[in-house]
Symmetry: C2
Subunit: 327 residues, 2 copies
């Protein structure tokens, strides 16, 4: 590996001058800077991050905590985080928590051992463990003082309910998201506001978990609880797909006899047939903006908005009926 000494020798300046030029600290003349940059380029020199990290006490690493990676929503969000931190010169240490609280704590320890600069987390319930380092939460907010990027769950809940309300529903069931996911209650409030305005009755089905492996089993339980449901507001796309498949297996025609709307707009939701109607959350953008927010906190020590809320949009596909004619 090229050393800073070799760079200094080739540039014909001192090591201290190379260091000042590379760190943008102290005075370096323009002519000298050009010589140093030429030498850096010619020798393909890059400063050792580990040495820099030890000196500065903080590395250029950011830890990312993710829940269930089998849900394509999270890889997409991770991609946004990665592009954001890369743009600002940081790299990403990955931690897939899989809804396991102990595993989350273990990762935070590993992150600390690597002198990470900060954490971005989409994992629920780790708020108190995070509070001794800079952090940004994604897709949820646990306290008013937290830095967070999330999407507009209340509007999302309203849009989903309205899409169903306007499509001649007979028996509506809301699949409520898992209790420990903060957005569940907010989306439900949005659902209920609209259904009450339309004076429509509805049943509630509690989704026990968002785990991918449990989706099919939950879909069966759904039909045991609500065999006559014909219009479903689902808790997310994965669970909506599982319920739609179960409905088809039970001989229900989509959307004539059974219509459903999901939440998230995973890449797959548009690629299957019938295409899944859903509320699109900007997964990539949530990740990307979260990364920039954390970098601002780390570098400027100040941000104008500690909470960024992104808009959601309604995607109508084949899984719901045509709108009522009188509208």
């Amino acid at each position: 590996m090229t050393t800073i000494k070799e760079v200094a020798k080739l540039a014909g300046v001192s090591v201290a001058t190379v260091s000042r030029a590379l760190n943008n600290s102290g005075y370096v003349s323009e002519a000298t800077r050009i010589k140093v940059e030429a030498a850096v380029k010619e020798l393909n020199f890059y400063p050792n991050e580990v040495a820099r990290s030890l000196y500065q006490k903080k590395s250029k690493l950011i830890g990312l905590l993710l829940p269930d990676i089998a849900n394509p929503f999270f890889p997409l969000m991770a991609k946004g985080v990665e592009d954001g931190v890369n743009q600002r010169g940081y790299s990403l240490l990955l931690g897939n928590v899989e809804d396991d609280e102990e595993k989350g704590k273990e990762y935070l320890k590993i992150f600390a051992q690597n002198n990470i600069a900060g954490v971005i987390s989409a994992v629920k319930g780790d708020g108190k463990d995070l509070r001794n380092m800079p952090f940004v939460m994604l897709d949820r907010v646990e306290s008013n003082r937290d830095f967070a990027v999330h999407s507009d769950d209340y509007t999302g809940g309203m849009l989903a309910a309205e899409a169903i309300a306007k499509r001649n529903p007979k028996e509506i069931v809301i699949m409520v998201g898992p209790k420990e996911v903060p957005s569940s209650a907010i989306r439900l409030a949005g659902n209920e506001k609209v259904l009450k305005e339309y004076q429509l009755a509805y049943g509630l089905f509690q989704t026990p978990s968002f785990k991918f492996e449990l989706a099919e089993q939950t879909a069966e339980q759904f039909f045991e609880a609500f065999p006559l449901a014909d219009s479903v507001i689902a808790s997310n796309d994965v669970y909506a797909l599982a319920v739609m498949k179960e409905a088809i297996k039970r001989g229900r025609r989509i959307p004539e006899e059974f219509q459903i709307i999901g939440y998230d707009d995973m890449p797959f939701s548009r690629m299957m047939y019938p295409g899944l109607s859903t509320i699109a959350q900007p997964a990539y953008e949530i990740g990307f903006k979260g990364a920039l927010l954390l970098c601002d906190i780390l570098e400027k020590g100040f941000v104008a908005n500690s909470r960024i809320q992104l808009p959601v949009t309604l995607k109508i596909r084949e899984s719901v009926r045509e709108k009522d004619e009188d509208e």
Copy 2:
């Protein structure tokens, strides 16, 4: 943060003794080890990875290069890698390359700056850039001397072709994987061997890319090229789904008028309706075994098998017909 000095003080031993006890190097009496461990626990001390890394020249970080993260095959593989490296005390630096060669090189630079111990890569064509550090390739092999974990593509190709051959195909088309993916040619060889044995004619459609965003457009091109295709051996599950959706849009009944088999067995392939028949690759296991292989290389400097090939299995679901009666 607790220092090693504080641990030594509480344990009533020297710093050198604490260091020997923690690193398992040199003699430490059992009684002393117990005292040190008690002090470590009481003070919640954990050695600083960055300092250790600088001293040992190598960190406990492993870099992971992944292609398109929108294909759920890769997050699942990443999960396997992560569990494997974690089990051996390493953490994962993430690099999503997105089929961009320059980005791959950039990541390798960042990895080197962080003194990573080694690289695990599922990205095609970066062989020569990797050769100055320990590395393991996943899902492909570029040279006979490489360390690699992959699945049995030839058998996979044969199984897919046999599944179609036995199901009364009228016009068979093989979607050949992108040219730059080494497994494409091997799977095609497996397909062709079987179709020739069955004396069945077939067309070839070259899949230009595995990019998620291009799947729907490619599906349209497929039907322009082969409007009468009724039995398709697809290059992967994502592209199989896109072609199946396009077939349904064109009014073809699945599987009576159009049958298709994919490759990979993504989590979603079973969850849609009709469920996609496919060749299941053990994505998680490929990642997990690849991680253990790299850790063995790093720690033992020797491994018995530099190439691990994992078996594939045929999954029959609703997207193909019943088998011919005479079998």
